[in-house]
Assembly symmetry: D3
Homo-oligomer: 277 residues x 6
């Protein structure tokens, strides 16, 4: 059986660019097929209302809606639409989403809140397309190297397995903290784990500065250094996450969890060996 | 007027995750609206045939199809579909796409070939979702910091401007070489430019190793080091690209090209100053 | 006139090791003389009660009491003693001290709260003398390179000047935030400033993890990674602070504020030039 | 029994800021209590004469006097005072102290000479409070990571144990060379040991440049580069010492010697394990 | 028996400065003696004709001619001279030499082609003696750390052994690819091997840029960034090669192949142990 | 006129591999021609006696003899031979050569002593061909980036100019200290200069450890860490020298002194500009 996964992307968080790829990293997983609709950078109710229903055209077995702040008006609209539909649906969002966790629960929606997926420094003096991409690169590096993406891989993998097995889907209620991320990271060296933990925590704090710089301070002399500092923190977090990964590589203990020939998740540590189920 | 841009993503290259975001980095550009459809990691004809026509539902002013190797069967199908449609369309792809440049020309399609957007090391022993995301992070960093994304921003910006002005769209025929990327990078320091150039060239060579490791060598004892080396090259290219950007930052000459209040592209160098048109 | 400064140290924060040296970095400042008493690492009421009154033996013009958490029992005792004495007195402490700011105000005490001077990871599995010193090295680097120490230098410098001039001492009520630290840092390059700001913020968050690891989590399997992560954050903050300083060095714009021949604070940027008043 | 340790600090070397903390890194060692008196940055006979006798007020079991150059007039005065007193006393100083080793021996004083604790670049064009603190940070890092502080911990620990046991104190006659420091560092990896050794040697040479730049060259065009170079050497030594420590961390073999519940010195290598006696 | 080796150097490649030293790294190998003649940086036929025959004065058992591009006129002349002589001779050259491999074979000459020994950026705006030496430093680092020099050591070692044993010399026909270099590198850690492989590949691509910048582009505005980029690539390759070596050091598995007391090649990994045959 | 330079190399120091190349970095200098003879790694009297006289066959205008320790027996023999010959001759050696400076003066020989060109760690447990080349790479980097090679270039350049002009040659009596090296380095940024100075000083100290490890300590448990530490110092010095160079590059002030079209030495700073005489 091929499980069909419908993904709706509105606006962007660090998990958005890779959420579909995480499920099928070599494009050869036999048991899933992904369909995407999206509204690019914008995530207002008008965009969401136009794109979210479209996913139904692809008749997915379950849906994922991913955006910044699940509590914002656009994502709220998406939650409404998906809650009303008859397919299992999961909301993936950043830390502010925790505020509507109970609400999502009541709406019958699963959720994954990625704490270290911070708001960008959306001030024109700092943020051009190049800076935006560079920032996303840093956050992707943090979320990859710390284990956060692996936890998402496994969480969604369980849904896929349930659908495949014809079982009822248990929707995730997951807030990815540093503890949970680095546990999924399966570090062998404790200092690598500590570095990953620290990287995740630093990335988690980036949003504090960006919220301050974008919404709370209006004088450009003051907010530019703040949002620039936030991006420096993101870049530093990325470097630290890479350090963690390099330690595991130096010990040839880097955990890898590729999808296997039958679509399930394998596991391996020693680079020259094959993964096992 | 709001220009509606339809983007179809099948499979993934380093430009895919950010192509829509590049056009509207702060989600506040007033004169465009983006709609996406996609098929996730897979890019076979069957996926492409299902998703590509769907973009028409959003009635875009022009379309972008982005995937690896525009000459592969899936993308070939997409080109066929888009060529037959009556909207301007652009194909964005990686270096192997250069082989079908003339064909795209004959099909009435524009194209952007990103030389330094290399094939990934798609061997199960190396490539799990974490490694995949980490590799994409590196390539995004290279393409951002060298200037390649800015060149894409400007190239598509010209199409948007033409549509907005009611003029005929001149479709791009662009192969992004190191020279062109770093020219768009607008480096002030010549060594920063040289480092960016070198980073772009190194990234361009990653594909050679990955093609060798994925298709030409079948013994895992031999191909694992090759694809692992390719990823080390990508990571090194990213570091070098960052070095280039850091030099410009240290001189406070980093070029930024944010979209302005009216949607056109601004320009600035000094961090504490406002961008100008 | 030689202003005599009495300093009492109980317990240790990152500012403690250098507080006296900051005032007289080359040991040749003609207009001050410093006397210290202290109780080493311990800061319980019994130690404080024994050492704090001793400073009076040196007949200082004003006093500084420096310790972790000014609200803790030992420092509370010190505040009581100093408040009752007839000499101007300043409390220097870390972020938890902000909770007793009003109280210090009422006690007629000045205060300097150093936000980025975090609690150490005081778990035996992590913290031996070597790790302790290494952590202090990192915090000292952050507080030096971001500008926090310079702000302390200037703040106490004003008290010295007032005493020297026979004026009434205006006691400082200073919470050193990232903004205030980097302002004192007098960075010329805005990215250096942003890096310093980020370093200060990261250091400020170290305490969150250390408090969690030391007081809130009791399972060593869980708290060791947390306190180890806190120390990785401190180390990363130090590296980032150094980056900021190196940028200013590369531009030959590094601000220096040495004490001049007459004891006042000079200022200079260009390394090969003399400082000026 | 609680051993009471009296420490007198006059002037500053890289060991001064942490000498008391090294003995009680978590402020919970049950069997010692420390009292400090000091004269800040200055170390002239007049300061020493005032502060040194004061330590007696605390009735210490033994005393430590720490300062630069034990042969200088102020420290000479301190040696005289301590020699005349009836408590065991130890002088801690930097490399020039070796010249009065025999003299100290005759005075019945123990001594610890820290070869890699160099004179600072005390020229006003370079040395402001920020540079001073930054330099101390580097030296503290070198002395911590190479093992020098551990050797001091153990050396003074033996005195404490002797006092505690009511035995006669054997005063140390210790010159901390690179060999002795890295032996105390207990490196498992031989390259880490070599890096630590090299870091210690580089730090040992810093003083040569600082002495030249401070005392032997009078033209500021010439001495500024020399003292600036000395500080670059210190910074480089710190980086190399960190490299050594990071290797041990990557192998999870980093030696730690925390004080145990009963105050004796424990030992551990594996981060997640408890220390043992 | 002492094997006498005659080496002729004309012009310079990254292997030239150390080719003789590689055979006798501690100057104590008992069974060889080396004689050199050379023409410095120049390698035109007139220089080669004067120096090449001179090597015969030393009556060597076999000869090595090392230069850039064995197909160029000067080296062609050298091949002619050596082919006509009655001693075994080997040509060592860079990648362009592969084009005359068959020719060398027909001439009865052995050869070693070092793929990653690239042409320098010989443009006056970039290349002064300092830049030249710095570039050579980088290439030497790459060729050393990846294993290329060890492969040359072993290859020539076999010739020496044959001469010593009175056997007929089997002339090498060796093209040093990344695969062959890292095999000789004997890396234990697979990521170290991958980094070395990547470093070798990057160095191999340097020549592409330098050929373009030196011969194919004539506008200095264009060629300066190209040759500067080539040197940045070389520098980056060196850093990556060092990373590989540092990993092996951190694991204490760094392979070393010193010449033993009898002149044969030993082998060791653990630093503190003796090499074995 | 073409000045013919005869160079004799016996044994190796860090200057040896590039001494001839420094004079003609692009192999196109019209007014010199170089001839080399050498004895490889060995430098005993028997080798020197065989090779040194051979240089006369090329009829050079002046001669350079380069080796470690000019006072050792082999080099002493070379000095004797060159002193007896009727051509101007210069000895280039490392720091121990300073001990025979007067003697060389009496022999009518010029000399260049390169203080930072240290003895290698010639212990079999450490030094194989790979380590040897790697060490030389580091030393070459230090001597290039600090300015030492430029000073040699200029010093020999003056001899060439004198010969060319038919003037009497004034033989150099040059000891390259850190001061002289960095003066030739022509750094614009004072911190770059300080880093270069520090790098040169660190390299100068490498020999102390290598002499100790090779000649004064006989227990391999002790001498291996010492010689390994010496090589770490060399590697650190190289990194610091590179930092200095990178600062000048970041400011586009890197001094370059290429040989011009007529063979004289040009000068330039701005990368994109032509050098001037």
């Amino acid at each position: 059986m091929v499980v069909k996964i419908g993904i709706i992307k509105s606006g962007n968080i660090g998990t958005s660019p890779v959420i579909d790829l995480i499920l099928d990293e070599r494009a050869d997983r036999p048991n899933i097929d992904v369909r995407l609709v999206g509204s690019g950078a914008k995530m207002n109710p008008e965009q969401v209302e136009e794109v979210a229903p479209k996913i139904a055209d692809f008749d997915p077995d379950f849906c994922i809606f991913i955006s910044p702040n699940p509590g914002a008006p656009g994502p709220a609209k998406a939650r409404e639409i998906l809650s009303a539909a008859d397919k299992p649906a999961i909301i993936i969002g950043d830390a502010p989403g925790a505020r509507v966790a109970d609400e999502m629960d009541e709406q019958g929606l699963g959720y994954i809140i990625v704490n270290a997926d911070p708001m960008i420094g959306a001030r024109r003096e700092l943020l051009d397309p190049t800076e935006m991409a560079s920032f996303n690169s840093d956050i992707i590096k943090v979320l990859a190297a710390t284990g956060a993406y692996r936890l998402i891989q496994k969480t969604i993998g369980e849904i896929i397995a349930a659908v495949e097995a014809g079982e009822e889907v248990e929707l995730p209620k997951l807030k990815i903290t540093a503890e949970k991320a680095v546990e999924a990271g399966e570090f062998t060296n404790p200092y690598a784990k500590a570095k990953a933990y620290a990287a995740y925590e630093i990335a988690s704090k980036v949003a504090d500065l960006d919220v301050k710089g974008c919404f709370m301070v209006q004088d450009s002399e003051k907010y530019i250094p703040i949002v620039a500092a936030a991006h420096e923190m993101a870049s530093t977090a990325a470097k630290l996450a890479v350090e963690a990964r390099e330690i595991e590589k130096a010990n040839d203990t880097l955990c890898r969890t590729p999808h296997m020939g039958d679509g399930c998740i394998g596991n391996k540590c020693v680079l020259m060996e094959k993964p096992e189920k």
